[in-house]
């Protein structure tokens, strides 16, 4: 800084008083001389303005917040142990055996679970579950029944004997019914004519189809109606004392000569 004198104050004196002037502690004639020198000196005037501006910039800086774990790190690096207050501020979490087991199992279950969570597999599992639930509902299985099942050996043995007795009772009860059904079927079988539908129905169809026979040559009839009619008559005849009481039926056939 050049050693010039303006208004009775040299530049080095101005520089020494600059801090006090910015702090506002200069008073009286010293302050007047300082201000006069700042206005007249081309070097000290801008210096005063810049110093005042820089001080304003620095005063505008806010205090920064230290990291949250700074104190804990300092204490750990100096004393090596956490203090009681720090330990009290940090909630202690006790790991249960269930959480340990979940942590160990999740290691190899996680890839499987990631595969299962794919949409196609999820849809398949959903449909399977739906079908199973519907099947169990139709079968009458209730969750309460499953919950009530006892897996003790004595209970299993009791269930086995009870189920076996139930099956035996069911078969015994069903046997007379089956025998009765078999007898009824036997009677029906005896009463029914031998293949009645096979001969009558095709004949009717043939008659309906060949209703108009004027333009067609007549086909040869080889059916023995006498035997068929007599069998019908025998089936419909009341049970009498003897065969001689039956009415005499004469059947004649007309055959057209071609």
């Amino acid at each position: 800084m050049p050693e010039h004198t303006h208004n009775g104050m040299q530049c080095n004196e101005f520089d020494a008083l600059l801090s006090d002037a910015l702090d506002g502690v200069l008073t009286g004639t010293v302050l007047d001389r300082f201000q006069a020198h700042a206005h007249s000196c081309k070097a000290c005037g801008p210096l005063f303005a810049e110093a005042e501006a820089g001080r304003g910039w620095l005063k505008g800086l806010m205090e920064v917040e230290p990291p949250a774990n700074l104190v804990a790190n300092i204490l750990a690096s100096t004393t090596g142990v956490d203090t009681q207050r720090l330990r009290a501020s940090v909630p202690q979490h006790r790991v249960t055996w269930l959480e340990q087991m979940q942590a160990s199992v999740s290691g190899f279950l996680e890839p499987v679970w990631a595969t299962v969570r794919q949409p196609r597999f999820a849809m398949s599992f959903g449909m399977a579950f739906f079908a199973l639930s519907v099947g169990l509902t139709v079968a009458g299985v209730k969750p309460t029944d499953i919950r009530a099942i006892s897996l003790r050996p004595s209970a299993i043995r009791h269930t086995y004997y009870e189920t076996r007795a139930r099956v035996v009772r069911y078969v015994d009860n069903v046997r007379p019914v089956l025998e009765l059904q078999a007898a009824i079927h036997g009677v029906k079988r005896n009463l029914e004519p031998a293949e009645p539908g096979r001969q009558t129905k095709p004949a009717k169809v043939r008659e309906e189809k060949n209703d108009d026979t004027t333009q067609q040559p007549e086909q040869k009839q080889e059916r023995n109606y006498s035997q068929t009619d007599s069998r019908y008559m025998l089936a419909c005849a009341p049970l009498g004392p003897s065969v001689s009481d039956l009415p005499v039926v004469s059947v004649s056939t007309y055959r057209r000569l071609v």
């Binding site: 600059l18 303005a49 501006a53 820089g54 001080r55 910039w57 620095l58 920064v64 700074l70 100096t78």
Partner: protein, 199 residues
């Protein structure tokens, strides 16, 4: 304003092995030391590491503190300043005041600070703008020489008086005042180009 008696008692208890007393000292001064380190080093990570180093050094040399020689905060600030100077020498950040037109980084895409500021559009939120201004001033502060930077930090950010600063820096009070004035003026010149319209 620290209570001398309370601090002296805390130091005695700490030297006797009272962990709670040490924790109270850490709780009281960690913010101040972290801010000095942050403004001087420039980054939060460096400031955190340096703050831990300061407290480790304090913990080891706490018995050397003599309350008759000065205030505890002056002693703490002296330890911090010495460690910051050592850190500065290790990292060889041997740069003096730069123009803002000089690139801040060695990267090719790095822009001068003035261009970075000019490219930013005016934020609608005043809080955002204030934060950006603070970051700009912080970046400009990092461009001051270490002698000027530590002087203005201790005076304008930590509100220490000239005598305490002279004790910490081990220079006369006149030199302290001169460094503070030069530091302020240099900072203003660095910021003046960008914020001329604001000023």
């Amino acid at each position: 304003m620290e209570d001398v008696q309370v601090i002296a008692m805390l130091v005695r208890r700490c030297i006797a092995g009272d962990a709670a007393a040490w924790e109270e000292i850490v709780q009281t001064y960690n913010r101040r030391i972290y801010n000095i380190c942050y403004r001087f080093a420039g980054t939060g990570d460096d400031a955190e590491d340096l703050t831990q180093e300061v407290f480790i050094k304090m913990y080891r040399t706490l018995s050397s503190y003599d309350s008759s020689k000065g205030a505890f905060v002056t002693w703490v600030t002296t330890i911090t300043r010495n460690l910051l100077v050592d850190h500065f020498r290790k990292t060889k950040q041997d740069r003096m005041t730069d123009s803002m037109d000089t690139a801040a980084s060695e990267h090719e895409d790095a822009q001068p600070l003035s261009e970075q500021i000019q490219d930013q559009s005016a934020p609608p939120d005043a809080h955002v703008r204030s934060r950006e201004v603070s970051e700009t001033v912080h970046a400009a502060l990092a461009r001051l020489s270490p002698e000027l930077r530590e002087a203005v930090i201790l005076r304008d950010l930590q509100d220490m008086d000239y005598r305490e600063i002279a004790t910490v820096l081990r220079v006369p009070e006149g030199t302290v005042k001169s460094r503070i004035n030069r530091g302020r003026a240099e900072l203003a010149r660095l910021l003046q180009r960008t914020y001329r319209q604001v000023m």
